[in-house]
């Protein structure tokens, strides 16, 4: 059974439009937010107003098998084999792993090592799309939201290859699995998008409301949550109002608009902003009865599961001062970054490219990598936009980092200890491992001290030491 891509959303829409509820009471504008944090320039105006556009197929799609956190997928096709859009290319190799589906109909040109964002080479597939193909997608076992059990939904989410689309790319079915003895009281949808420049989630909320609502239905069933809250930052009020008009009568969903602040999109900060509670140090949101899912991930679940399809494309913001045709693009997974940048056009010569936002995204060292499932945005800076390396001054104890850290650490003290390589003291006495690397400290530091950069290294060293202690 084959069906074209567009039809899916249309059907889902007709499903919900008939039983709309008035938006009164479903949306609340809250002044409450987490303490500390920073306000980087938003820089979203360049793309916030531009609707999602379909991106062209590249002449060659390059798919690494590592597009998620966890075990790499196992390739199940051969070289020269013809594949259909939506066909399984690589299967999950364990519980914390997801399969990979073909984003195009074409031929597997080559299987070999391909570069990824981290700079490593991993196994991957080169697929050449058939130029004149209709690109219809193959479908699998549909999962009906009414009759499926929680286990079946979780399995369906894994089979669809769904990972967190906010950037971390952690397999969603693992995150949704409520451990024994724990209870999910609230499903939290993360529509915060606090990273500057990115407008992916913003556009998804404005354009894929019925997919989101259907996705929430699946997610509530999978987690057993009796209610869901969508958290949205006040710079996306239009999206909040739009969504509030499309909440079905029988779906216990509310929307909470919270003040704009970075890093509110972090799970812990979002929970504190919306519910006013703290997640215990070293714990997970489920420890306070919450499961947090990115809003675009929810939309993807609502779009794919009714047809048993695998994830083939995602919405990406391509922006930054270096980009000519800035916008939000629906882009096939595996599109080479170089092709994407050539299509949108770059003024001048590229100096810096980030995948993700500028606060937590990773710098690209090789334009031959591909757009993956976890790529929420691409930000491009050219020669003239990048300042030369700034001089590092000693810490003047100004306290800006202390007033910025959303976890209430003392980055100034941690920075001094990191320089002295006192990693054990950092961990034992100064809560190093609670740092989730939002970078607010480095952002505000007037002395340009690479604080979060040192903490990232220090955390790695502490983890390694612990692992070697276990072995010994």
């Amino acid at each position: 059974m084959k069906r074209t891509w567009k039809n899916g959303s249309q059907e889902a829409r007709s499903l919900t439009e008939s039983n709309l509820r008035r938006p009164m009471g479903l949306i609340s504008f809250s002044k409450r937010t987490f303490k500390h944090g920073v306000h980087p320039p938003e820089n979203k105006q360049g793309t916030a107003g531009s609707a999602i556009r379909q991106f062209a197929f590249a002449p060659e799609i390059i798919l690494p098998v590592v597009q998620h956190l966890g075990a790499p997928s196992e390739i199940v096709v051969r070289e020269k084999q013809e594949v259909v859009r939506g066909q399984l290319l690589a299967k999950a190799s364990g519980y914390v792993s997801v399969p990979l589906h073909s984003p195009v109909s074409g031929v597997v040109h080559k299987i070999g090592n391909v570069p990824i964002l981290s700079g490593k080479m991993v196994p991957g597939l080169h697929i050449r799309p058939f130029p004149a193909s209709g690109q219809e997608a193959i479908e699998g076992e549909p999962i009906d939201v009414e009759s499926a059990t929680a286990e079946e939904i979780l399995q369906g989410i894994q089979d669809a290859g769904i990972v967190g689309l906010g950037g971390a790319a952690f397999p969603t079915h693992v995150k949704l699995k409520v451990p024994d003895g724990k209870e999910c009281k609230t499903l939290m949808l993360n529509g915060i998008e606090c990273e500057p420049f990115l407008t992916t989630d913003h556009r998804v909320m404005l354009e894929q409301e019925s997919d989101i609502m259907l996705g929430i239905r699946y997610l509530m069933k999978a987690t057993g949550a009796p209610k869901a809250i969508i958290g949205i930052e006040a710079n996306k009020k239009d999206a909040a109002i739009h969504l509030s008009k499309h909440i079905p009568k029988d779906l216990p969903v509310t929307i909470q608009v919270v003040p704009v602040k970075y890093p509110q999109g972090s799970e812990k900060m979002l929970i504190t902003s919306v519910l006013g509670i703290e997640v215990p140090s070293g714990g997970l949101p489920i420890d306070v009865g919450v499961v947090v899912i990115n809003i675009a991930t929810a939309a993807e679940i609502g779009r794919l599961l009714p047809y048993g399809r695998g994830i083939q494309e995602r919405v990406i913001t391509i922006t930054g001062p270096g980009v000519i045709d800035k916008g939000n693009y629906l882009m096939p997974v595996g599109t080479p970054l170089r092709f994407a940048l050539e299509k949108v056009g770059i003024k001048g010569s590229i100096r810096e490219v980030y995948m993700g936002g500028p606060m937590m995204g990773m710098a690209v060292s090789n334009l031959d990598i591909s757009i993956t499932k976890g790529t929420s945005g691409v930000v491009v800076f050219t020669e003239k936009d990048v300042k030369q390396n700034q001089k590092i001054f000693p810490c003047i104890n100004c306290g800006a980092c202390v007033d910025a850290c959303p976890i209430f650490l003392n980055p100034s003290k941690l920075g001094i200890l990191a320089k002295a390589e006192a990693y054990d003291e950092m961990e034992a006495q100064h809560h190093l491992m609670d740092c989730f690397e939002c970078g607010s400290c480095s952002y505000v530091c007037p002395s340009n001290i690479p604080l979060v950069q040192q903490f990232r290294l220090s955390k790695g060293i502490v983890r390694k030491r612990k692992a070697s202690q276990k072995v010994a």
Binding site: E352, F393, I396, G399, P406, N410, E437, S442, S447
Partner: protein, 337 residues
């Protein structure tokens, strides 16, 4: 499309942009009106004292950096701040050779021996001032009247005193309001204090100019407002209570606020980021301790003025405050120690 080199760094790729040099430069901007008022009030004498103070601090820093084989750090403006603050604490008729000596001590012993900017325990300007107080107790307590008619035409003879010779002070020396009160129980009008119509150190005369300069820095978020507020509130409250109990033997709270070096110290010296605690609660405690010490030294101590020692003691306990006062880390129940 592709540049020669892709620049790689770990996130965050954005910085706020206010640099340490920006902060230092703005403190200098804020100090300029205070210095200008000092020159307006005390004429050429103040100009010479301030120039000598800044020059000796900057040159000392430069020479010490070169001597230790490091890149010079005078471009970060911190030596200029130290020089200006140091000069503003001195009497306008202070012999210039002593000014230069004190400036050298400020930078060398107050800052450089600790490792330079960011590592000093005490406010360097006050270290220099404390040295002079011990070395030249007479010269540093000899004051001239402000707004003397000849202030722009003649240079005080004491300024040009030769090193290690007894300086000769001009006849127009006058007591500061604090010593007048302390030793003769004579109180000066608050209005005169606020406008700086009294004798004192070059920079401690006009409380209003200092407050406005402080507001500029607070507005630019380059100064922690809690420190001056805590100090001034403590001094006001404590002296209000004392004055209420016994108006005969204790001065009015407004006199306490506007006299001596309290404004300059509270706004520009206690707020030195390096020497103050890092948490908001910490700086309030720090400010309260300084305010308390100011009142105690002024009223019960042997000296008429106690701001300098109060701030130096505050600097000394700041690291201890930071050790005890720490934020409760997110997701933890008890305060970490």
């Amino acid at each position: 499309m592709e540049g020669k080199v892709l620049h790689i760094s770990t996130s965050p790729h954005l910085v706020k942009g206010t640099s340490t040099v920006d902060i230092m430069r703005n403190v200098v901007y804020a100090l300029l009106p205070v210095a200008a008022y000092a020159i307006f009030a005390f004429g050429i004498n103040a100009l010479l004292v301030l120039t000598a103070a800044v020059a000796s601090c900057v040159i000392t820093e430069h020479v010490l950096c070169k001597w230790s084989g490091k890149e010079t750090t005078i471009s970060d403006w911190s030596a200029v701040i130290t020089g200006l603050l140091f000069g503003l604490t001195l009497p306008p008729s202070f012999p210039l050779w002593m000014v230069v000596l004190g400036g050298m001590v400020s930078i060398a012993l107050g800052k450089f021996v600790f490792g330079g900017l960011g590592y000093n325990v005490f406010n360097p300007a006050l270290v220099g001032r404390a040295f002079l107080q011990a070395a030249f107790p007479v010269a540093i307590t000899t004051w001239t009247e402000p707004f003397a008619i000849s202030r722009f035409s003649t240079v005080g003879s004491s300024l040009m005193a030769l090193p290690f010779m007894e300086p000769v002070f001009d006849a127009m020396s006058g007591a500061t309001p604090l010593s007048a009160w302390k030793f003769d129980k004579v109180a000066v009008e608050t209005q005169d204090l606020a406008l700086g119509l009294v004798s004192g150190s070059t920079g401690e005369t006009s409380a209003i100019v200092i407050l406005l300069a402080g507001l500029y820095l607070i507005g630019r978020k380059m100064m922690n407002w809690r420190i001056p507020v805590a100090i001034l509130a403590t001094v006001f409250t404590l002296s209000f209570v004392l004055n209420f109990l016994n108006p005969e033997s204790y001065p009015t709270p407004l006199f306490m606020l506007f006299s001596g070096g309290l404004m300059l110290g509270a706004v520009f010296m206690a707020t030195d980021m390096v020497g103050s605690p890092i948490t908001s609660l910490g700086v309030v405690i720090y400010g309260t301790v300084i305010g308390l010490l100011v009142v105690v030294i002024r009223i019960w101590g042997g000296l008429p003025e106690g701001v300098m020692y109060a701030i130096l003691i505050g600097n000394a306990i700041a690291p201890q405050i930071d050790r005890v006062i720490q934020h409760r880390v997110y997701g933890t129940k008890k305060i970490a120690s």
